[in-house]
Amino acid sequence: MIIAILSGFILAAIVPFFSPYLKKNASLIFPLLPLLLFGYFASFFPRIKNGDPVSMFYDWVPSFGVDLSFRLDGLSLLFVLMITGIGVLVFFYTFSYMKGHEYIDRFYAFLCMFMASMLGLVLSDNIITLFIFWELTSISSFFLIGFNNEEPASRKSALLALSITGLGGFFLLAGMILLGTVGGSYSIQELLSSSEAIKSNSLYGGIIFFLFIGAFTKSAQFPFHFWLPGAMKAPTPVSTYLHSATMVKAGIYLLARFSPVLGDTFWWNSTLVTVGAITMLYAAIHALFRLDLKGILAYSTISALGILVFLIGLGTDEALLAAGVFILVHALYKATLFLVAGIIDHETGTRDVTVLSGLGKVMLPVALAGILAALSNAGAPPFFGFVGKDLIYEATMQYGEWAVVLTGAAIVTNICLLFAGLLAGVKPFIGALPEKFGKVHLPSPLMWVPPLILASLGLVFGLFPSLIEQSLIQPLFSSISKSGTEIHLKLWHGFNLIFGLSMTTLILGTLLFWKLKPSKNLFQKAFRFEFLSPERLVGHFARGFSGFARIWTGFFQNGYLRNYVITILGFLTVLLAYRLYNGIGFQIKAEMFENVTLYEIIVLLIMAVSIVFTVFSTSRLVAVASLGVIGYSICLIFLFYSAPDLAMTQFSIDTLTVILFVLVIYNLPKYNTFSSTPIRIRDGILSVFFGLLIAVLTLEVLNEPLNRETSEFYAQNAYTLAKGKNVVNVILVDFRGFDTLGEISVLAIAALGVFSLLKLRLKSIEKE
């Protein structure tokens, strides 16, 4: 199975190497992959039907409990078949749709990659692995949405989609790790057994919150839905495949998958129902005012996704069953409608519904597919959509005191969706054929056969629900519901309330289609409220965030070195002061005053005066000379306190530094006082305070006894073992010879640096 899952990646990975060969007809090998996979997964039907899920396990990163463990059960099977099945059709469709495109191979590679990611997502039993595939779907989606990358709008939409789903992805990651941490395992099967413990954990709220954000962003729930209409910039096969049939359902899959683990709690249900309801209504109403075919379909997709979330949120057996069935229903008709829209776009060059009409005359099979899909969408008997709609109403009707409200919401949504379906699937084909479409003709069968197959399936499953009832829907239901109930799919329930509701929906929807003619005017009126839309709000937020970034960065990285220094030192000072204040007793020992002699006082006095003189001197040369005095004074201190080697070195180095300064000084700027007095006072206070801190610290350290073990060792062994009597030199060349090696390396590098700084002048032709 792992090969099946990863085959898409493998194929995608080898594409770049055979790129030249795959541009033409040879690209027909791509559709073979989903075909093979479809066959492969379909072969599991009997096992799944018998309630015997298929499991695989491959080790990957056992340290973190991440493995390639896959599990094919009812839920995954439905998704797998959708992914590969619709995949086959979309891949074939693509061949014709993208024919002659320069980068068709690349396009297929991304599609394969996406397909593999999606398969991995729905088959993973390990939640981290699931997350990995989840992210890969986002990335492949990014590349696919941005496929027409030379158009700014495509790039923008791809970025937007990636931002939203990526953001959701990070939430999901947080949620998954939290879930794994709380549940003690990253395996879904194992988590199932600790479901109750997880639900009672105080972090449960966090888990579902993160999970929801992940699911909502991916499945375009309000208020994260707005990336999806933008994603319609992608070529139609992508819209069909990713943004209606499969990827956007990943969030639904996730909710369904975790429903047995995390579901059936107040927060789970109420959040999902609320968000689902808002989304389905909001998007459904929005769909009314779209003019662009794909725009209509995008909003109706969002709305359908809302319905699914809503149903999973209801959480009852009926609702879960309805959700399961509706996933399939929606996939079939929505994919069809997208493919149809794609054909229309491809052949007429427009997707504007106000313009499109009468195309049925020139492309009958396409019209047939569109109409069949629209009818399934409408929930007209005997289509599969009718079965689905019934189940939805059944679910809402049984939801106690909220039944009326929920059912009402469902009806309104369905009416609007029905309208949208008719607008997209029927409107372009009926009425008179405008003159400009005179030359429009039926495309290659590779394009119109796939939608027709899908649309027909909507009819077939409606007529013969038993085809899939036990083989597909029952296992699906069992894997998302804990109850273990037997389910029955029926087209005909009799004339009951639910049938009445369905009919009402159908009639009102058709009436609406009859009366409401989409127009630019209406479109513009509807858009008056756009400023309140989440998209705008996110836009404001993004601008605000970017402004914040600008302020923050401008504040810290302001270009002024002195500000950097003062920030660093200020920070250090505060920390030091805090820790000193909290941890140190202050005492001065009497012996620190002892043994002070006049010559020392004078040397130190000269040094102190020179320091001040250096700081306040107005001439750089005087400052340098005065720096020399400081150095020489230090030298005398070294000498007084038994460090002849140091004194020698300090003398020499100090003089060399002075010489260096003197040699370069007329190439150095004259001394300038740039800072204002208040700044100087501020700096002065900080400096003095810092100096004080260091002094206090020094004092404190001097009060501690010093362990002299090491120096004792040197004293004992310098001559006997290291054959030297000047212990300092012995340390330098022997005990700590590596320091000296480093030291001369520093000097060597510095010399090379000085050499290059002074000598290297890049000619204008050899800069980079």
Binding site: R562, M592, V664, P669, F735
Partner: protein, 118 residues
């Protein structure tokens, strides 16, 4: 005596930092040198000071017979002094070069690399 050295060390640190906070490049370098001197003095003092007993074994002896100054801080300072010398020479030349290419001593004018749209 220690107490006086402590004051001097504090003074060196304070002066070094004050100079580093100036906008003039030459002052910046001088600040760094002062700071380096301060750090060296600090090592020296914290290694504890002993008067007039260099850590040199007498020509007739094989090891120390009486108290002597700790040689380790001295070796450390020696290394540190030399290293600072290398760094300081580089820094001085860098300032010279900077003055040549930027024609200013004012560090505030050397901020183009921090501009966002660069």
């Amino acid at each position: 005596m220690e107490i006086l050295l402590i004051i001097i060390i504090g003074l060196l640190y304070a002066a070094g930092i004050y100079m580093m906070l100036r906008r003039s490049m030459v002052k910046l370098i001088i600040g760094l040198i002062l700071l380096g001197n301060g750090a060296n003095m600090l090592i020296f003092l914290l290694g504890r000071i002993v008067k007039g007993k260099p850590p040199i074994i007498e020509s007739t002896a094989k090891m120390f017979t009486e108290i002597y100054a700790d040689p380790i801080p001295q070796a450390l300072i020696l290394t540190a002094i030399v290293i600072s010398f290398g760094l300081q020479s580089f820094a001085i030349i860098l300032v010279k070069r900077a003055y040549k290419v930027a024609k200013t001593d004012d560090l505030d004018e050397l901020n183009t690399t921090d501009e966002i749209y660069e």
